[in-house]
Amino acid sequence: MIINHPLLGQRDSAEFVYMGDAALIDRPDPASDAAAQEFYEYAYLRDNPAGDLRELWFHEGGDRSWLVVTRNTVTHEITKVELARDVARSRGRSK
């Protein structure tokens, strides 16, 4: 698979490490009353869809940036690549 890196252009997916569902960006609040349940769900439960999935790829063999790649799990087609930093900021994270 070729991942179209927003900064570096087309890169071989073998340069990357895969971290799964990009929902991991939304870490629960450890101070919340429901933190135990929320962290259980965060750490262990997955949507695992057959179709488009937004997922985290780490460019370990490159510029070491984290990407959010939208990829179809049935066809392996990649339709969108974003910097995870931008996605996290747009979701209200400070960094």
Binding site: Y44, L45, R46, N48, P49, A50, T73, V74
Partner: protein, 416 residues
């Protein structure tokens, strides 16, 4: 019809006119006591043991395609019980014992071949780990044998013992491990279950569950609604997709695992060999092809095909332990979809929905587990309590911290 040597001779002398289809093709009834979703090895084994051991009647197995068309027909056919942890080893040893009596039990030649499995050791630390594992196996009633490099050289003279990076220092052998003709497992269980009245309904895709007041009343299928007192799901690979129809999120990701077969060669590899420094395992089929595989591709997939980096990695592993494999040409390669769970171990448990039961998360150990998985799932469905060797395979182990993590990798499914 019972298969036997006498029957084969009789049919040979009478023009083979007496053979009948191995199972019926029934229309679905409106209601069953137990409906099993998934006509693969695990689902068919479940139906067989439900009917034979637990005396259940009025059972159906629903399969969206044809039986045995999923992972039971796409694996590398290895059976073994060389696990370390208490939650796993008794289960897999139970499975190996069932394999040993399988053909008599289901009156079907599944070509169970206990040709032995050999895990190679390449470092002192690995020997320590394998000694520990071997002791855990023996404590659980399995067999294990620690071999020196000299002993392995007698059986496998062609291995690259003096490799600079990965010298072979010894091995852990399980002589009772081996291989089984995988399709025959599905067909044999199907025939045995059918002979006890189980309805095997092919081309019947489950489209949803009918759930009212927290109770599962049946399944909506491509052949209409089928009611059931109990519904058991055994669709590993597609568990996430199926259980999402019951609004369940699972501790599972679906990943693709590739496997390979070379051209047919003369008898070469007597047993199963695994490379301990990378990830590569190989055996030789009775037709002569070298059957081998390695790691997952590593990303979520439902595609049943993988990519080239893993092909390269697997072939490098092969070249590292048996360089002569480089002379063999690859004949076939394919991908299968694995339920990769968060700790690398399976789940056989009730769900929070009354009457809905789950069997899945087999990672890439599902084939060897087929008989015990079916037996334990049948036990759960019939008695509403886990079988004694499957008590650890609970949904809530992730919540309570009782993970069964053989490799100690944590909640990263692509590393198990």
């Amino acid at each position: 019809m019972r298969y036997s040597g006498f029957k084969v001779i009789k049919e040979a002398l009478t023009g083979h006119k007496g053979w009948r289809p191995a199972w019926r093709e029934p229309k679905p009834k409106p209601h069953y006591d137990i409906v099993i979703i998934g006509g693969g090895g695990h689902g068919l084994a479940t139906a067989h043991y439900l009917a034979k051991v637990y005396g259940q009647k009025n059972i159906a197995v629903l399969e969206k395609g044809w039986i045995g068309g999923g992972n039971v027909g796409r694996n590398t056919t290895i059976i073994r019980s060389n696990y370390l942890l208490d939650g796993n080893e008794p289960f897999y040893e139970f499975s190996l014992k069932l394999w040993e009596g399988l053909e008599q039990d289901i009156n079907y030649n599944a070509m169970v071949s206990q040709r032995g499995i050999m895990n190679l050791i390449h470092s002192d630390a690995q020997r320590d780990a394998f000694v520990r594992r071997g002791n855990a196996m023996i404590l659980n009633g399995a067999d294990a044998e620690l071999l020196s490099a000299e002993q392995i050289r007698v059986e496998y003279p062609f291995l690259k013992f003096d490799d600079v990076r990965f010298p072979i220092k010894g091995g852990l052998a399980q002589r009772r491990g081996g291989t089984v003709r995988h399709d025959a497992v599905a067909w044999g269980y199907a025939r045995a279950a059918d002979s006890r009245g189980v309805d095997i309904i092919q081309n019947c895709e489950v489209l949803g569950f009918r759930i009212e007041d927290g109770k599962c009343l049946g399944v909506e299928t491509s052949q209409g609604f089928i009611g059931a007192k109990k519904v058991g799901c055994a669709v590993a690979g597609n568990s996430g997709r199926l259980m999402s129809k019951a609004n369940m999120r699972l501790p599972i990701e679906s990943h693709v695992l590739q496997a390979f077969v070379s051209e047919g060669l003369k008898p070469l590899i007597p047993g199963v060999i695994t490379f301990g420094a990378g990830h590569f395992y190989v055996s030789q089929s009775d037709k002569g092809g070298l059957v081998f595989g390695g790691d997952l591709d590593g990303y979520n997939s439902y595609a049943q095909r993988g990519n080239l980096p893993v092909v390269e990695d697997v072939c490098e592993g092969g070249m590292a332990i048996m360089p002569m494999i480089g002379r063999a040409r690859l004949l076939r390669m394919w991908g299968g979809i694995m339920d990769m769970s968060m700790d690398g171990s399976p789940i056989i448990d009730r769900t929070h929905i009354d009457g809905l039961y789950f069997n899945g998360g087999w990672c890439y150990g599902g084939f060897k587990a087929t008989p015990a998985s079916g037996y334990c799932f049948a036990h759960l469905l019939a008695k509403d309590a886990p079988h004694p060797v499957a008590t650890a395979y609970r949904f809530d182990r992730f919540r309570t911290g009782n993970m069964i993590d053989e490799k100690g990798m944590g909640n990263q499914p692509n590393l198990h």
